[in-house]
């Protein structure tokens, strides 16, 4: 993966981000649990997940946040400063799911020496639109 460094161009309202897809595997959930120290059993134990209402172990908050970070970084490049990521989890992203994160620039504004892009974000999977949110990303002028 080659990330744009500088000169990616000025974000424009309506611009769609290149989608980012990922298959949720149990191994990834276990690795992610270790990486972010969230060892809640619902994220790796099938029985615990089903008891909580999910069909199988599912992605935690930080993993969803990371998916959005990767989506935004791939789009914004190395000069982008991710200032805000906000989202609601409407349905589970479970083991075996192929998920795709997407985004769209909804507004731009001046922020001192920077241009700040505001975006809508989402994650789609077999259970529909599982996560919806927004972000603010700043670029040097």
């Amino acid at each position: 993966m080659t990330l744009p460094a500088t000169g990616r161009g000025v974000p424009t309202v309506g611009e769609q981000l290149a989608p980012y897809s990922l298959t949720v595997t149990l191994q990834r959930l276990v690795m992610e649990a270790a990486a972010n120290r969230d060892f809640a059993p619902i994220h790796f134990d099938g029985e615990a997940a089903r008891d909580s209402g999910a069909p199988s172990p599912y992605m935690n908050t930080t993993f969803n946040e990371t998916v959005f970070e990767v989506l935004l970084r791939n789009w914004g490049g190395l000069d982008a400063r991710i200032e805000v990521i906000e989202f609601s989890m409407k349905a589970f992203n479970c083991v075996g799911d192929e998920i795709t994160a997407g985004g769209c620039v909804t507004a731009t504004r001046e922020g001192g020496a920077r241009l700040v892009a505001e975006l809508d974000l989402w994650i789609d999977g077999p259970r529909g639109r599982t996560v919806t949110g927004s972000a603010a990303v700043a670029f040097p002028r």
């Binding site: 059993p41 935690n60 908050t61 989890m89 040097p140």
Partner: protein
């Protein structure tokens, strides 16, 4: 599946009394390390050199390697066990986040949403502390069972007292129902 062992039990009235107060103030168990960052990147192959190449990071106006922003809360995570405590048993635990200390009436705690505002980069060597304030408690019967939505705002700071991130998380605490949910 037995209930998790580390949720404070009580009434929603007891939780109401904590609104607006700091429910926890703590420093994470570990300093930020490049190894922690590397193990995060490998989960999905997040190949961003800001997180492993100091020269590249400096070219982009950082003082060196920085952590992914989505790791901001990781190093404020309390330990699951500390020296002097009895060894962990076999009972399941919820993640030892401050919200587990809010008294409530359910046996399960899950996150419904979050807003993260990232202010300062997190760098290897940093020590991250958290200060969590309970903002609201809203009892509600959900499709998962009777419970309440809790909003907790946590300010994460480094050892220089710089705020690195502010997290506003909405959690659902509820009583698991014996029948399978959707």
């Amino acid at each position: 599946m037995p209930p998790v062992s580390n949720l404070a039990h009580g009434t929603w009235e007891q939780a109401d009394a904590l609104i607006g107060t700091t429910i926890a103030r703590w420093t994470g168990a570990d300093a930020v390390s490049e190894g922690d960052i590397r193990r995060k990147l490998e989960v999905i192959g997040f190949d961003c050199p800001l997180h492993y190449d100091a020269d590249c990071a400096r070219e982009h106006h950082y003082d060196g390697v920085v952590a992914p922003v989505s790791m901001s809360r990781v190093w404020a995570m309390p330990a699951y066990w500390s020296p002097g405590q009895p060894p962990l048993g076999t009972e399941p635990m919820s993640t030892p986040i401050p919200a587990t200390q809010i008294p409530g009436e359910g046996d399960t705690l899950i996150a419904a949403g979050v807003r993260m505002e990232y202010r300062e980069p997190v760098r290897p060597g940093d020590r991250i502390s958290g200060n969590a304030v309970l903002r609201s408690v809203a009892p509600k019967k959900t499709r998962l069972g009777p419970g309440a939505f809790l909003v907790v705002e946590t300010t994460y700071s480094n050892q220089r007292a710089e705020v690195v991130a502010v997290e506003t998380v909405t959690l659902l605490r509820f009583e698991q129902q014996p029948t399978e949910a959707a």
